[in-house]
Structure formats: C-alpha cells, structure tokens
C-alpha cells in the first residue's frame, strides 16, 4: 500500500530516514512530497492526494482544520525546534544585546519576517528582547529559512536567525546564541491525517512517528520530539 505524506521541506532528512525504515519493516510505500508549508496546505485545500500533512507552522494546520480537511482527532504536535542566532565561521557565543553593534552596517539574514514561520518567530523573539527596532533596517529576508542559512554560510551576511536544526547542518556557521523558548511562540510542527485520505495506513505511520526509531532520527537532526 502507498502512503502519501506532505511535509515541510525542513524535515526532509529525518523523515526520509524514518520513512525508509518503516517501508522496510512494513512493506508499504511512502511518497514524501516536500515543499513550503504554505504551498502544501494550499494544495491540500485543492484536493491534493495527501494522506498526512506535517506542517512547519500551526497556522496552516489551523487553516486546514477550520475548513474541515483534517481527519478527526488525528492532529498532534510532533516536533519542536529552537531558534538560534548564527554567525559566519567559527565564533564564540555572544550576548544578543551586542548584536546591533556587531552587525554594524551589515545584514542580518532571516526568513521572511511576516510570512515564513522561522522569520515570524525570529521577529517575535527580537521584539520581545527589545532589539527589533534597531535591527529591522538590517534584516535581509529570504523566501525560506534555508536561504538565510546560505547567506550566512557564504559570508554574505555575518549573522542570521535560523532554527538550531538548520544551524547544526552547516560547517560554515556557528550558533552564537540560542533564543530562550519563552522569547517567541512555541515552535511546533503539527501533523495530522487528511480527511478522505488513507487514514488507516496514515494512523499506522503516525504511531510509528511517535515511536523510538523515529524519535532517534528526529533527535539526531536536532529536533525536539514533542509527542509521547
């Protein structure tokens, strides 16, 4: 049997590995479609043949839920993540308050602060820390958080704000500060089965995702697994 999973692109590495294991164990096929959460959510609205949806933002999941597109009682928060200030090259940790001075005329790379989840969280955190007004003119926004990482990795921008999962992935950047969890809304990746999809098989995979093998894979990529 085949299961189609729509998942936020940032979960690709872990999810690929988990799906591989599950397939080997059960003999089922998993098709994983990675794209931005917004694109995936919209496709589901238009009847995409998804059985499960893993979103990088609760907003899009809320939107689907309101429209009654989720299979009842299947939604839960699967993953959590942290937000980090990253710097180009190998750098010691620093106080966030120094950022405006350290930045000077240079740019702070972030995902789009009004549109992309990582950017929205980052803006919230900076506002919370009272730094947004000073930093806002320096923000270079990208269309996804990975692009922000690239800007820092190439040295185009000396600093950037990404998830810790992203920061861990690049050898050219170092985490110089981790935003406290209470400085921004909780970063959660909700998952749910889609109404009209293969909910039976979906439920099987969902429970596998809560299992120990999945947990290990997610943790290895730096995610926090929220689901018990």
């Amino acid at each position: 049997e085949r299961l189609t999973v729509f998942a936020a692109a940032s979960t690709k590495t872990a999810l690929d590995a988990i799906a591989g294991q599950w397939q080997a164990q059960t003999g089922h096929q998993v098709s994983l479609s990675y794209a931005g959460s917004s694109a995936l959510a919209r496709q589901i609205e238009f009847g995409a043949p998804a059985d499960l949806f893993l979103s990088a933002s609760p907003d899009w999941m809320d939107q689907l839920e309101t429209k009654g597109l989720l299979a009842a009682d299947t939604r839960f928060d699967l993953l959590g993540n942290d937000l980090a200030l990253i710097a180009h090259g190998t750098q010691p940790t620093m106080a966030i308050a120094d950022l405006p001075d350290r930045l000077g005329d240079d740019r702070l790379a972030m995902a789009h602060v009004d549109a992309v989840p990582a950017g929205i969280y980052g803006k919230a955190a900076l506002e919370n820390l009272g730094l947004w007004a000073a930093l806002a003119p320096h923000v270079a926004q990208t269309d996804n958080v990975r692009a922000a990482l690239t800007l820092v990795a190439t040295g185009e921008a000396p600093f950037g704000i990404t998830y810790t999962t992203d920061a861990a992935a690049s050898a050219d950047v170092s985490i110089v500060y981790t935003f406290p969890a209470d400085s921004h809304p909780p970063i959660t990746y909700p998952i749910a089965a889609i109404a009209g999809g293969n909910t039976r098989l979906g439920a099987e995979f969902l429970s596998y995702l809560r299992g120990p093998e999945a947990r290990a894979a997610f943790t290895a990529e730096g995610f926090e697994v929220l689901a018990e």
Binding site: T4, F6, A9, S10, K12, T13, S31, L32, S33, Y34, A35, A39, L40, R42, Q43, F46, G47, A48, P49, N144, R146, D166, A168, A169, S170, E221
Partner: protein
C-alpha cells in the same frame, strides 16, 4: 546521498525529460497557431490573447501555479468539469506538470515562432496560391518550412524552460517522488537538507547537460535548415 545517483534522482530526471518533451510537443501546434493568429490576423481580442499568452512570464511562477490550482484543481473551474465528465485530473499528476511547464514555456514558444513568421515574405505564399495551393497547403509547404528555424528555436527555448520550471510546477502538482517530482523540485528538496548541496549539484549538472544537449541539437538542426533556406 552523494556518490552515484539515487533512484529518486534518476526518477526525477526521467520524469523531467518526459514532462519537458510532452510540454514541448503538445504546445507546439498550439504555439504555431497562436503565433500565426497574432502575426497575420486581425481579430477582436487579439491584444487580450497576446497578453494572456505572456501572463506566465510576468507573474511570479508561484502565482501561476496557484492560478493553475484554482482553475484545474479538482474543485477548480475547469478541473471540476474535467474530472466529473471525463475523469481527468491534472493537479498532482505528471500530466499537470506537463500543463504547468507548457504554460510557463508558451510565451517563449509563441514569440519565437511569431518573430520568424513576421520575417517571411507573404509574397511567397501568394506565389504558392497562384500555383494552386490552398491557404493551408501554402502555409504547410512554404511558410512552415521557412519558419522552421524559428520553430526550432521556440521549441528548444520551451524545452529548456520546461526542464527548469520549478515554481509553478511545485505549486500546482506538488513534489511527489516518481509522480510529480521533477529535477528542479528534487534540487529544491536537496537544498533544504543539510549537506544536500552535493546531490543538488549533481542534478544541476545533469539537467544542464541534458538541456544543453537539446540546445546543441537544435543549433545543428536549425543551421542546416537555415543554410538550406538561404542557399548560402
């Protein structure tokens, strides 16, 4: 996921080629027709058609993809009747990727053919008419061969564009491996992954190679045709 190509990547290449070929082949007749209409006819709404053809160029691809979803999605204006009456769905199928690629490439195709058409002396078709050729025959035997370099140029532009199309495709048909994951989508997915640049680069190189091959082939073809025509 480095080393040699993953089955997923191979699958993406196969699919991209299939999509680009179909998109090019299917849009060619329509492209020639529309180019002819724009170049030679006068009709009400001509500028509207012209604008419509160019729309995918002007719009951010994501928007085009979104509009395609609106129109051809299962609940869409065209998608719903298409499904209800013929059982055809395009969204989330490779056929939808063909549609997306064809629509994105269409302005390039039409412009190239139209430019070629405008350069053909209509007096030659007149001469064919005096020899008994109907309008259609005159077009097929005189004008069409003479615009062949333009048609080839348009086709290769369309093919290249179709090979590279990402935004509209991923928005319209998503990114399902083996079904709708084209090379650009796969590249995108790799780029989202820590350390995925290597695999992405591999795909970039391959798709560039394929498209350049097509380009080179078209150059050779079109030079041969042009030489024949100019008699030089």
């Amino acid at each position: 996921m480095s080393g040699w190509l993953s089955p997923e990547a191979l699958e993406a290449i196969r699919l991209s080629l299939k999509v680009a070929l179909w998109a090019t082949v299917l849009s060619l007749p329509a492209g020639i027709f529309v180019a002819y209409a724009l170049a030679r006819w006068r009709f009400p709404g001509k500028q509207l058609l012209n604008g419509l053809v160019h729309l995918p160029l002007i719009l951010p691809p994501v928007v085009t993809g979104y509009l395609l979803l609106l129109a051809f999605g299962r609940t869409g204006l065209i998608g719903q009747p298409l499904y209800d009456w013929f059982g055809i769905t395009l969204a989330f199928r490779w056929t939808g990727a063909v549609l997306a690629a064809a629509i994105m490439a269409f302005p390039l195709l039409v412009r190239a053919i139209r430019l070629a058409l405008e350069a053909v002396d209509p007096k030659l078709e007149e001469a064919a008419k005096t020899l008994g050729a109907s309008r259609l025959l005159g077009f097929a035997t005189i004008t069409l061969p003479l615009i062949l370099p333009g048609v080839i140029a348009g086709a290769v532009l369309a093919f290249a564009k179709a090979m590279g199309e990402f935004g509209a495709t991923i928005t319209f048909v998503s990114n399902i491996p083996g079904q709708t994951q084209t090379v650009p989508s796969a590249i995108y997915a790799f780029l989202q992954v820590p350390g995925g640049e290597g695999a992405a680069l591999q795909l970039v190189v391959i798709s560039v190679g394929l498209a350049l091959g097509a380009l080179l082939l078209s150059e050779v073809l079109s030079r041969r045709v042009a030489k024949r025509i100019s008699g030089r």
